[in-house]
Every structure is written in structure tokens, then in C-alpha cells.
Assembly symmetry: C2
């Protein structure tokens, strides 16, 4: 799984070109553009994949497989926040994958949905362990908290990159790392010290809506 080298099936070369093109230009990119990137006629890509929709599905599947692989290799470091960091600092060849995932998050595609569900499932486990070890505070609704934390982290990253995209869509990795640098202090501060000084808002909410873990 090391390199996207040149001695691949034509089908695989087209698929890789499509992942790259979709990552750079979004899923509105034309079949003709993908074909040109792969050095191939438009007719050939539908010969191999049947339709643009099925090409998209094949890319989704490929990227999901890659994610599963990458996560297995990085199980140790992959806490909720650090997984993104690992992805971002991966070799440059993996940047297209990160870009692809972000695009899929942006338009609600299958990869995006599966990606956050996986992240949430993992994060549930990590935070449960952290709570057991006394590193994290327990929550009144663990599942809701994990979901909130993951959606916040991912959503903030996605929104930041959307509003202020990297001039060269090539290195999403660099942009992600820059974002993490900017946000590190604020997020760590919030996670260790909180934001408010009093418990009043929390108490008010608990009095108003008594049964969280419904």
C-alpha cells in the first residue's frame, strides 16, 4: 500500500486520479477532467466503472478502506483530537485522502458520515478509558458529550478550511496543521479550565431539563 506508482491497473490509475480530482475540485468535477488527469479517454472511465455515480462509490469504498487501514496502524495515538493530527501529518501521498474526506463531510456523502460515526465510536471508548483512569471528568450524558466533542472539532476544522481555503488545494495537510497550531491553545485551555466561572448556567439547565440520558 506504499505508493501510487505507475505500474497499476488502468482501472486503479483512473480511481486514484478521481480521488485526487474530487479532493481538489469537489464532486462536481467532470468525468472528462478525471479522464484527462488519468491520461485516458472519457469513454474508458465509464467502460471501467459504468457511470460517474459508480465511480464516486468506488472512490468512497477505496478511501474508507484506506481509513480503516490507517486507523489500525495508528490505534495507539488515535484519540479523538489526535487522529486528525495523525492524518494531517501523514505522508504527502495521503493528503488527497484527507482532502477527499473533507469534501465528503462538506456535502454529506457516505464517506463523511461513516468517518464521523467511526470517530464517535472510537472516541466513546477512549473517553470511557480516560474517565476510568481519572484523566477526564465524567459526563451526565457520555454519548451526547462525545458526539458534541467530535462534531465540534471536525466542524470547526471543516468550516475554517471552507471559509479560508488553502490557495494551493494540493496541500490540505499543511492547512490542517496550520489550523491546529492556531487552535491548540484555545482548545486545551477550554478543555482543562472551562469557560465560565460559576455553575449557575449548568444548574439552571439541570433544573429545567432534568432527564438527560433519555
Amino acid at each position: 500500500m506504499r505508493s501510487a506508482s505507475e505500474d497499476l491497473t488502468t482501472r486503479a490509475r483512473i480511481r486514484d486520479a478521481a480521488v485526487l480530482r474530487f479532493a481538489r475540485s469537489g464532486f462536481g468535477a467532470s468525468l472528462r477532467a478525471v479522464a484527462a488527469d488519468a491520461g485516458v479517454s472519457p469513454a474508458l472511465v465509464v467502460h471501467h466503472f459504468g457511470s460517474k455515480e459508480r465511480l464516486h462509490a468506488a472512490c468512497d469504498e477505496h478511501v474508507l478502506a484506506w481509513i480503516r487501514e490507517a486507523k489500525r496502524e495508528n490505534l495507539a495515538a488515535a484519540t479523538s483530537g489526535r487522529l486528525v493530527e495523525v492524518l494531517a501529518s501523514a505522508e504527502a501521498q495521503f493528503a488527497p485522502m484527507v482532502g477527499y474526506v473533507l469534501r465528503s463531510l462538506q456535502d454529506g456523502g457516505a464517506v463523511g458520515r461513516a468517518f464521523v460515526e467511526q470517530m464517535i465510536a472510537d472516541a466513546e471508548q477512549y473517553t470511557a478509558e480516560a474517565v476510568e483512569q481519572g484523566l477526564a471528568r465524567p459526563s451526565r450524558d457520555e454519548k451526547a458529550r462525545v458526539r458534541y466533542l467530535v462534531l465540534s472539532a471536525l466542524g470547526a476544522l471543516l468550516l475554517s478550511l471552507t471559509l479560508d481555503p488553502p490557495s494551493d488545494p494540493q496541500d490540505v495537510g499543511a492547512a490542517v496543521r496550520r489550523y491546529l497550531d492556531q487552535m491548540a491553545l484555545a482548545s486545551i485551555e477550554l478543555y482543562t479550565e472551562g469557560f465560565l466561572t460559576t455553575h449557575r448556567m449548568l444548574d439552571d439547565y439541570l433544573a429545567y431539563a432534568p432527564d438527560p440520558p433519555g
Copy 2:
């Protein structure tokens, strides 16, 4: 400014129809769809606006003007988190506006960018006041924290709605309110109690990267 009633300029009717259509279907919606919604020929919309791009710009301008108006009317309640709440709970006629803003955030349009910049600017003021009054903890880098908080709140909302869109794109308002209900406890908990139990990660970061407000 009360109602989108029927006795408006045709130009205004087309503009309103376009805002609605763009909010529901995204900016990829066709001129013909907008024209049909407005009960008008496609040729007339370009007669009034010149091109689709200029129609988009006119919608942006209109929505931005509405935002400024709405904020002036709700200055008191408009803290970072509560502004979204105010927007969401506004009259049903305002839901298209909310949907439009979300669409613009989703594709990095001018309205989206302006919207978060306004929110950040306002939040800076509110949190400064809150810190002065002893309600919020001071931060080692106030501007970065505000930016992080706003991007997190907005990004989580946007991501949630993107991955799990309301079946009827009509009521974005209801979906936003549902989201806020789900996330309220977790966010208040995090804001008042934090997540970690020790200061170690924060101390480590401060030792590693000493000069935050650069």
C-alpha cells in the same frame, strides 16, 4: 419588513424566490427553477439581474442587510451561542434566511464569511464584558479563543445538519432547535467544568510554545 407579501416589485419577488430556492437546493439550483418558483420566465430574471452570478450577489446583499437588521433588533440577547438560537426561533418567514446562511457557510460564499466575521467581532465584545464581570475566565489569547469558540459552535451545527439533513428542507429552524436541544447539556458542561481533570496537557503546551498572542 414584515411580510413577503404579494404586492412587491417583480424584481423583489424574483429575489425572494431565489433566496428560498438557494436555501433549499443550494447554489447549484438552476435559473429556470428560480424563475418557475417566482412564476416568471427565465429570460425575465436575467433581464432584471443580468446574470445568475449577479442574482447570487443580490441575494447575498439582501441577506446580509437582513442580518444586520436582525442583529440590531436583538442586540441584547445576541451572545455568541444565543444568536443562533434567536435566529432559529425567529418567525417561520425567516427560516429561508437561516437556510441561506448555512448554504453560504457550506460553500464558503461571501455571506458565510461575513457572517462569521460579524459573529466573531460581536463575541469578542461580549466575552470581554463577561471576563470583566467575572463571569468568564480570562484567556491567554482572547482573540484566538473567541475565534475557536465561534468556529466550533457554528461548525458543529453546520456539520450536523449536513450529515443528517432535515427531511423537509422547509424547516431548517426546527432542525436547528432540535440540534441545540441535543447539544445543550454537553456544551454547558464543557463550558463550566471543562473536560480534563489535570493541568498537565496545558502546562506541557505552554512550556512547548511559550508566546501565544504573537
